[in-house]
Amino acid sequence: MDRSNVDSLELQLVEQAANGGRDARRELFERHRERAYRVALRITGRHEDALDVVQDSFIKAFEGLGEFQRAAGFKTWFLRIVTNRALDLLRARKVRLAVPLDAGDDEPRLEPPGGNRTDQPGADLERRELADRLQRAVESLPPEQRAVFALYATGEMTYGQIAETVGIPIGTVMSRLYHARRRLHGLLEDLAPRGATVEEK
């Protein structure tokens, strides 16, 4: 199925969802939830927060379907809501963290989704550890770089789509992505593939 067919099917779903179609909403939810979760998780760094962001974003999107401009594409429009919501949450958390907490429980971290998966064998555990290290490194990025990196990390968005989603020029996307990757390469130097070097450390 080519992209135009996908887009037209999605537009039909959006139209039906706007008219109260529950099945269409469910379909949109299932199509976009994992991508939205990955973006939200990259920005917020917490499983529960990411789920909250996804939930709030879908609610806001379904309430605001009347504002959806068809030229933009539902994915881009929806991910803009997700990104903004996640950044809002991040800012709110920073304000909250300005108050000293003795337990340190609000330290940003990646919690294992599902809660009780630690008994799963090696490869999965290693994968999760890598993801955890990467997430901690991502959390050291400034929020504006983090948002661009989160959208880039979906692996399917063009420079133009990222620019449209975040609301910045394409050149700024390139620049933020460059600096984000550079910083992450420095932090994750030991993960470099054999023979590869990080430029200009």
């Binding site: 008219n19 529950r22 990955r38 309430e63 401009q69 599902g114 992505l177 593939p193």
Partner: protein, 169 residues
Amino acid sequence: MTTPNDNLDHLLDRVVAGRLDELTPEQIDALEGHLSATPAAERRLADVVPEADPRLSAIAPVPTNADWDKVWQRVDSAAPTRVPTARAIGRTIRLWQPLAAAAACLLLMVLWRVAPLRTQPPWELQLSGDVVVHELEIFGGDSAFVAYSDDDGSAVIWVFEEDESQGGA
């Protein structure tokens, strides 16, 4: 002969080819400026998916179906039954435009009829309570007249302009 733009286009070629990391921060700054000033260059990059990096692609496990079911239930229970589409909003706006214009015309007519009836005094009267005047200084030849009322200490200050055609209190 190569121009600075040729060099920038060469840098852009490398980004389009997925070699973003090869550039220096100074080159990135220059290229960012070039992209913002050159729509054609920006269009070249618009449809490019940035190159993936295996080191930066570790993906955390996605939520379980039980997680998603909970999220969906909350979304579903909060969703409105029907949302006005952009087209419907457009129809509503189109309907209201002539009505708003007619209302504005009517308002202007009423104001035009009423305005001449409103006569303004040649001076402006301002009433103030709880005011303490420590010093009263008059400039430019204006004169002031302070009239005390009764025993409660309240006073009225009249300030007359030099030509006495206008005054204020």
